[in-house]
Symmetry: C2
Subunit: 176 residues, 2 copies
């Protein structure tokens, strides 16, 4: 029931911080120096290619609760996603597209959710520049409790995605 973190990039430390108190995790990175640093911090780490099937099997992708793919190289991310999806058709895979034009490609590779930090950041900045209260929105996002039954509260206006509750069918904790 662990989270498998494939590769190491700019997003990895924020991800590990968020996971720290909430779920056990294992990092796979090819970067031996980075692996040593993580290991010194008592992080479970495999020094291996995160798109290599054998590495993912050793890290028990078959029993993982989720796979997080976030290097700064979207091509490497795509390969890692393809490998993970092949080895575990059911596991939840979450990825980040460094180049926002790769969001759909990473989804087609098998990721359930793909985030574009630049799109998100650009949106918040423009909103804030135009007088929206982006800091409050950001704070709100940051304070969402991941394990809550209803991570976003109901709201009464049209700002919500069309469709009913839980439009993307996001899995609940413990599904897998």
């Amino acid at each position: 029931n662990h989270v498998l973190v494939l590769g190491y990039g700019d997003l990895t430390e924020p991800i590990l911080e968020e996971l720290a108190s909430k779920a056990p995790y294992v990092v796979i990175t090819r970067d031996t120096e980075r692996a040593r640093i993580l290991s010194d911090r008592d992080v479970d780490v495999f020094t291996a290619d995160p798109s290599d099937a054998e590495s993912l099997q050793r890290a028990r992708v078959d029993t993982a609760r989720a796979v997080v793919v976030a290097t700064n190289n979207d091509a490497e991310d795509a390969l890692a996603i393809l490998t993970a999806r092949q080895l575990n058709p059911e596991v939840r895979i979450v990825a980040a597209a460094s180049n926002r034009e790769n969001v759909d490609k990473l989804k087609r590779a098998g990721a359930d959710t793909v985030i574009s930090p630049t799109t998100l950041g650009g949106h918040l900045m423009a909103e804030s520049a135009l007088g929206g209260d982006s800091e409050r929105v950001e704070q709100k996002v940051m304070e969402e409790k991941p394990s809550k039954e209803h991570p976003v509260d109901e709201e009464g206006d049209g700002a919500e995605a069309s469709g009913g509750a839980d439009p993307d069918g996001g899995s609940e904790p413990g599904d897998r």
Copy 2:
């Protein structure tokens, strides 16, 4: 009443897209090739140092509605913020920290709001991995209307920032 965009980085295109239909904007970048590309797209652009006082004066920082600072170099961002703040003590300045450890420094330089796309992205990814409905949260953020009187609707739980409405004193459209 224009928005001044200082520098050009990964976040700039998403920012310009968001601004496009909502406010006039002017870009200042030292990158002559980038300036040419933007100019070919009919974007108002000055090829100049975005931390140079004279450039900012030419681009009318004194009458700007907001200043957006988002290169991939936080040190350059800090200089640009310091210049803009000196020339216009009242203007709203929004910045992005490429390295999240620079958030506070950019605030001290004079930015009103500083966003960390990696912190935000890492948070959303971890949340999604643990079964939270991060896509819905991301969608919600993306669909916030910047010009609405109440950009985030009231909610009944404890996930909100402490304090009353509008805790960061964000300016309303048309304030300046």
